[in-house]
Structure formats: C-alpha cells, structure tokens
C-alpha cells in the first residue's frame, strides 16, 4: 500500500490516530488505550499484514514518554511507525509479545533503561543492568549519585 492508502485504512481502524507529515514511513501517534487490539489488527488484517516488528524503542520527551514501534510487512513491503504516548508518572502499555515474539527482548530493554511497564509481558525483568539496580538511567532526569560527574 502507498502512504495515502495506509493512512486511509488505518484511519478507519483507529480514528484517533494523529498522522505526521513529511516522514519517510507512515507515522502515527496514539494513546495506550486499546493499543493491543489496534496492534492485533495491524498484524491480522490481510491487506495490512504487518508481520514483522523490526524495532521497538522508547523516547523520553521530559513532558511524557513515547514507545516507538516500527512495523513492516514482508508480503506487501510497506512499513509503519507507531508512537504510543505515555504518562511519565505511570508509563504502562500493553505488551505486544503475544503478536511479535521479538518484542520480548525489546520490551525488556525499554523497561530496563526507561522504566516502561509492559502489561502481559511473560518475563519483565532487567536485561542489561543488575537486578538490584535502582532507577532507569536513560530517563532525562536520571542522576546516579555515585557515578555521575556533571559538567
């Protein structure tokens, strides 16, 4: 599908979706409510068929957090970027591990470094840092009292 066709189709599934202009891939942002159903439709609708999650990452915007999903379809050769906006004080989103197994590690990483909770994740624990580590070091307001040296 072309960008316009994707926008048309996804706009029907998720009327709240806000599309960004001037991006390489079709990009939309939405809230965490009903995200899992939306993601399931992205994968299962035969003309969308986003069967491959090639990146899952998180961004700290200081005012809020976003989880960024990059999907692509190995059948239709189209790609989609979904940005899910989360509350900074309570960043919780549904896990997509059941739809794309690759999300298991990606979500653990986002949890480890950004402190985003993925509901329904089978094994949500720290990936790189030690289990007793406190805090989420890639948050913009993170400060490590022992290791941090400020300019």
């Amino acid at each position: 599908m072309t960008n316009e066709e994707l926008k048309q189709k996804i706009g029907e599934i998720l009327p709240d979706a806000a599309f960004e202009e001037g991006t390489e891939w079709t990009t939309l942002s939405c809230g965490p409510e009903g995200f899992l159903d939306f993601a399931a439709r992205l994968k299962k609708e035969s003309d969308l068929h986003f069967d491959y999650l090639f990146c899952l990452t998180a961004v700290d915007w200081k005012t809020h957090l976003t989880v960024v999903y990059h999907f692509t379809s190995t059948v239709h050769r189209h790609s989609l970027v979904v940005k899910v906006k989360l509350d900074r004080s309570q960043p919780i989103v549904e896990s997509v591990t059941g739809l794309w197994r690759t999300a298991e590690f990606h979500e653990r990483e986002a949890y480890d470094l950004m402190g985003i909770t993925f509901n329904g994740h089978p094994d949500l624990r720290r990936l790189f840092l030690t289990p007793e580590y406190e805090g989420f070091p890639l948050r913009k307001d993170f400060e490590d009292p022992i290791n941090m040296i400020k300019l």
């Binding site: 790189f128 030690t130 290791n147 941090m148 040296i149 400020k150």
Partner: protein, 178 residues
C-alpha cells in the same frame, strides 16, 4: 624513562682474561632482563583500542619484535594485561578476577582514554568505570583515543624499561635506585 635508546645490552660487565672473558652480573638484573624480554600479553580488549592492539600485533607493527608475541587466551599464562578499552561496571569484577588469576610477576598497561579515566564517558554516565586503576594497579598509561600502534609500542618499551630498572613505583617516582 628514555625508551628511545633501543634494546639495552645484557646487564653485566665483561672482564677480559686470556683466551676469553668472564661476565659479572647481579642475578636480579639477569632475571629482570629475562622477564622484560619475554612478556606474554593476555588477549583482553573491551572496545576499539583492541583493534589498534591487534594492529600492533600484526605484521606491520609487530610487537613480537620486542618479546610480546605469545598472546595468551588465559590469564594463568599471561604476564601483562593490556586494558584495551572501556571498563564498565559489569566488566569490573571480571577484570579483577582476570588480574587475580594472573601469576606474579604481572604487569598492567592502561591503553587509551577509557582505561585511563573513563575517557569520553567521564561525565554523565551510569555504567562506565572512571579509570581501570580504580580496580587494579596500572604500570603504564598510554594516552590516545585510541592510541596509535606506535604509542602502544612505546608503552610496551616503557614497561620493559620499568621492569629492567627493578624499581617499585615509589622508587621510580622518587627517582631513587634500589
């Protein structure tokens, strides 16, 4: 320490006698001479400095010319550990264990900015150890990011010079002979 003089001769004095000569030396000097010319490095590289170390080991720079050719993959057979790269908090206990497993006498070279001070990760990081000398004692520091193979060779020669001098780091600092 002047390493530009090239390899030092065998430590000792030759006393000519008819039909040949007798060499007098100190056993400590002979041991230090032998040790300094056969330093087996541990293959230990945690980031890009490792590439320069490999280059120094390769045919173009070839640190085996100075007795470093037998790179060991086990600390139990190594004499010198070249810390080639960033040491992160998770790597620190591993480095300590490797150092503890090396047999005495053992030497440490801190190669590059990360091993010296944390380098580009000195400020504002949660994961990097700010200098390998927080974990193990370092004999020779090589500046650079990464240091060129020539710089590494210079540090290896400096280490040899240090071993041959037979002095502790305090004695070297005060420039006092044994």
């Amino acid at each position: 320490m002047d390493v530009t003089q090239g390899n030092k001769p065998f430590p000792g004095q030759v006393h000519e006698i008819p039909g040949g000569g007798v060499m007098l030396s100190k056993i400590d000097d002979v041991i230090n001479w032998a040790r300094s010319n056969s330093l087996w490095p541990l293959t230990f590289a945690t980031s890009c400095c490792g590439i320069e170390m490999m280059s120094a080991a390769g045919a173009k720079y070839d640190f085996s010319r100075f007795g470093f050719e037998v790179a060991r993959a086990t600390p139990r057979q190594a004499d010198v550990i070249i810390i080639a790269g960033t040491i992160v908090n998770k790597m620190a206990p591993v480095l300590k264990r490797l150092y503890d497993q090396m047999a005495d006498p053992k030497y440490v070279i801190a190669m590059g900015a990360c091993a010296i001070s944390g380098g580009p990760f000195f400020y504002n990081t949660y994961s990097v150890v700010k200098g390998a000398d927080h974990i193990i004692p370092v004999d020779v520091y090589v500046a650079g990011c990464p240091p060129r193979p020539e710089a590494l060779l210079h540090s290896l020669l400096a280490l040899q010079e240090k071993i041959r001098s037979g002095m502790t780091r305090e004695q070297i600092r005060e420039n006092k002979p044994v």
